[in-house]
Amino acid sequence: METQNDNLDQDLETNRKKLMERLQENQDLTFRDFRVGQKESRGFLAYFESLVDHEWITVSILKPLMLDFPGIQSIYDKHNFGIEDIQKQVLPNSRIDAVWEWNAVIQALLSGQTALFLEGEDKALILKTPSGEYRAVTESESEAVVRGPREGFIESIGVNVALLRRKIKDENLKLESLNLGRKSQTKVNIVYIEGVANPKLVEEVRKRLNRIDIDAILESGYIEELIEDAPQSVYPTVGNTEKPDVLAAKLLEGRVGIMVNGTPFVLTVPFLLVEAFQNAEDYYARPYFASLIRILRYISYMITAILPSFYVALQSYHQEMIPTPLLISMSEGREGVPFPVFVEALIMGIIYEILREAGVRMPRPVGQAVSIVGALVIGEASVQAGLVSQTMVIVVALTAISGFVVPALADTAAILRLYFLLPAAAMGLFGWQMAFIVLLIHLASLRSFGVPYTTPIMPAHIGELQDVFIRSPLWSMVARPALLSKGRRQGKNGWQLWRGGKKGK
């Protein structure tokens, strides 16, 4: 339908006709007529029945208009009171906007607001009346922590903003709003801290978001794909989080957040590779244990991405590298297995992916069946039947478990496993190493919103490595990441604080 953006008319019936014309075939569009004032001026409310809170309309709009109005003598007796008087003196709503254009009226109605029209007025009042049917703030399932705030974002952008504002009570926390999606008109907020985030970065985010021209934004994933630097890469260059504390921490480092209405996942840019290995809890736990876990995460990712291919290369080409006693027991296990080790690894890898996908998609009650099939049939029976070697089952199991340690890169690990497997099977460690070099070059060439993706590992920023492979104590992390923000995150030199504390000052 062609969208005309003309202005409202002074005649009430013309306005009603126009509204019905624009929103025809919408059964839930409701008109509620009323008369106000001593002269009984005519007016009506328009709203979508399915989107509004009826009680709210009755209590905060109709009651003041129809019952309380006569009490306000100063304007009730006026012959020509206008919509402005109603806005300023009659309605107690916290937010009322006056609009003159049809597009604004339609947009407001579609997002659950109510429009008030009055005879003789060429403008309408937009009143906030959305129904509050949203999921409660619950614990995030994708980023669970043992110690740390439990709350996670929800589908309502308003609630999400509130959750963030409760974390950062700073006047410089800025929030820009825009609507994206030609049909969905999804509300999107750009959040950043002025003075911490690089203004060029904010401008770049604004520019990329404004470039989006698509029918609908149904989840932040749509935006992620449309604004990322390297859509051809398997690595994500836009981050996401479900936790307000994580978003707050990222904003405080100079990143920009993109909140999307209708999803609990808030995007953060720029997203660097090392962020995938960081977890909110690292910063709430003591640094030694957090560092140990951080290192384990890197090792786990290496295991999940390369262990099967490394095993295939060693078994097929470089048996001399395996210590002799180990080689003997591995060879015994492989005796009678009809497949070459590459085929064995490939089949087991595919079976694991099928089990994983089934585990995610299946209805909860049938979960046990899948577990039994997975554990008994694939694991035990196939080894006993001599189809798969025990070592291969161990390799695949270790690969699978390690994959869950770094959830942000779990999907890339699945692709990398296959990617490494082929050259390793064809050319042993030579092929494997060449594949690894290609991966490193690819990672080195990636950027996320202008920042090299592998910073601070390559190009190396030695000072910033204190939050990469280990998590240094908070007092030693004085500066913010240099490529994101120039400032310092601690007022006093942390070292002095620490030494002061030691001396008992």
Binding site: G428, L429, F430, M434, F436, L440, H442, M458, P459, A460
Partner: protein, 367 residues
């Protein structure tokens, strides 16, 4: 947003890696004539290389953010500049070819004898083309992350072989005169001279003023590690065994054994050297392409890089049909060509630039 260029650390790492990667078949050639005194030639080569570095550094400062291909046209004029650049391109392509041949030969002889050589060559060149497509910054970042691994690999070889070392094997020393040392130095001078690739890299460096000291630092570190490993090899295996080996450092790495359980770890060492060798191939491949881009005023390297990779492949087939011809080329052919380009070419360029500046002082230092 900050525009990223090559950093000091990347330049340092690069020179460490390319010098350390000469371990593919070169060490025994260095030791062949002077035996235990070989390190003296390396010292001489380092001094010459530092001087060469100074000359290129001066040229680089005089023509900031220009590669040697660009300023050679500014110094020698368009026509002569293009001829000079062509010779340089040929030199870089030759170095890349020799590295490719040496690595592939090593793999076909020592690691995977049943796999045909062309498979290794094609794979290495394909990845090299991809690296060039990703840009010099990416190659340099790879270098930065890989240099510590290469250094660690050499140090582990030295440390884990201490138990085999006999210092008596390092005797006799100081047996040769200055003339013999100078003559024998030509080979290391020619090989360390491949560092004239700095004429290309300096244009992309984020602080060109530091380039010389960083380069010399990297070069000395790389050469130091290589020489130490060679000395460790002599101490552990004895001169006679070393001279009969083509890959003496590889032999040394095969002797590593930790607790009678972790043995034969040379494959891991080889992997680190392979990445180092790849960095050499791709960086010289890149330098050659960059030169051709300048000569033909091409807009990108998209077509040039694959074409040059085909040329490199053909050259390895034509020039090095077997190990003997490669060794003979490294010993008898390459040094003359290399010295002519490295010493002759670069000093000639500097002299012309110097004279031009004297005649026309206004041109001096376009900073």
């Amino acid at each position: 947003m900050r525009v990223y260029r090559i950093s000091n650390r990347q330049v340092f790492s690069f020179f460490v890696v390319i010098v350390a990667s000469l371990s593919f078949g070169l060490p025994n050639l260095f030791m062949r004539t002077l035996k235990q005194d070989f390190w003296e030639t390396i010292v001489v080569a380092l001094v010459v290389e530092a001087l060469l570095g100074w000359v290129l550094y001066q040229l680089g400062l005089r023509y900031p953010q220009q590669t040697i291909f660009q300023y050679s046209e500014a110094i020698l004029g368009k026509f002569m500049g293009k001829i000079f650049s062509s010779v340089l391109v040929l030199f870089f392509i030759t170095v890349s070819t020799v590295f490719l041949a040496a690595i592939v030969e090593f793999f076909t002889i020592a690691i995977m004898p049943e796999t045909p050589a062309y498979v290794f060559k094609i794979l290495l060149l394909l990845v090299s083309v991809y690296a060039i497509h990703a840009g010099i910054e990416s190659i340099m970042r790879l270098t930065e992350i890989w240099a510590p691994i290469v250094v660690a690999s050499y140090i582990s070889i030295i440390v884990l072989n201490i138990k085999w070392m006999k210092l008596d094997n390092l005797k006799p020393m100081f047996q040769y005169g200055i003339l013999e040392i100078a003559q024998t130095s030509l080979l290391p001078i020619a090989w360390f001279g491949i560092c004239i690739i700095m004429g290309v890299l300096m244009a992309y460096h984020n602080s060109p003023k530091d380039f010389l000291k960083v380069k010399i630092g990297g070069l000395v570190s790389g050469v130091g590690i290589l020489t130490l490993t060679m000395i460790a090899g002599i101490a552990a295996l004895g001169m006679n065994v070393i001279l009969k080996q083509v890959y003496s450092i590889y032999l040394l790495s095969q002797m590593v054994s930790i607790g009678d359980f972790i043995e034969r770890m040379e494959s891991i060492q080889v992997l680190t050297w392979l990445a180092g060798g790849f960095i050499c191939i791709s960086s010289f491949h890149y330098a050659g392409c960059e030169g051709l881009k300048q000569i033909f005023h091409a807009k990108s390297l998209a077509i040039i890089a694959p074409v040059v990779s085909i040329i490199i492949y053909m050259l390895t087939v034509i020039l090095f049909p077997n190990s003997v011809t490669r060794t003979s080329f490294i010993l008898n052919g390459f040094p003359y060509f290399a010295l002519a380009v490295e010493i002759g070419g670069v000093f000639f360029l500097y002299t012309v630039s110097f004279i031009k500046d004297k005649l026309n002082p206004k041109r001096k230092r376009v900073k």
